[in-house]
Amino acid sequence: MNKKLDAEYYQLLEQIQAADFVLVELTLYLDTHPDDQNALTQFNQYSEYSRQLKAIFEPRYGPLLQYGNSPVGQQWDWGSGPWPWQV
């Protein structure tokens, strides 16, 4: 059984991807610039922002992470597609 995907799904998923990419870049940057307070502040902002986005996304469209890193709710739908790389 496939989950229903609407325009909002794609919009939210793209926002999550974009926010997480910023976090990837800032992680690499902070590895070499650990004393840059501006970057650290920005990292924390985006970290919080990413968490908020996922908190909206997951109750609606299912868990993004497995092994207890995402809430799964009352029904086990990890196995029902589509997978992120299929959308």
Binding site: Q17, F21, E25, N38
Partner: protein
């Protein structure tokens, strides 16, 4: 040498390989190679101008100066 570098700074550099008269293939003419900005910037300075998250995702980098794309230099441009 350094001064020459400054004057001829470009993201794409060219050289002409030797073409043997016995080479059965026609000469390619110029060879192109890219020298992105990060190889001149020894250590990334803080507070560089950034892309928006959406643009960054599509550009592959968060910082505008590091955006480097490939364009086939052998293809004639239509526009």
């Amino acid at each position: 040498m350094d001064q020459q570098h400054e004057q001829s700074f470009t993201q794409v550099k060219t050289w002409q390989p030797f073409h043997s008269p016995f080479d059965p293939c026609p000469p390619i003419g110029n060879k192109f190679y890219r020298t992105p900005i990060n190889i001149y910037m020894t250590f990334q300075p803080p507070n560089l101008e950034q892309f928006s998250p959406q643009e960054a995702l599509r550009s592959g980098t968060l910082w505008k100066v590091f955006y480097d794309y490939y364009e086939n230099p052998y293809r004639e441009r239509d526009s």
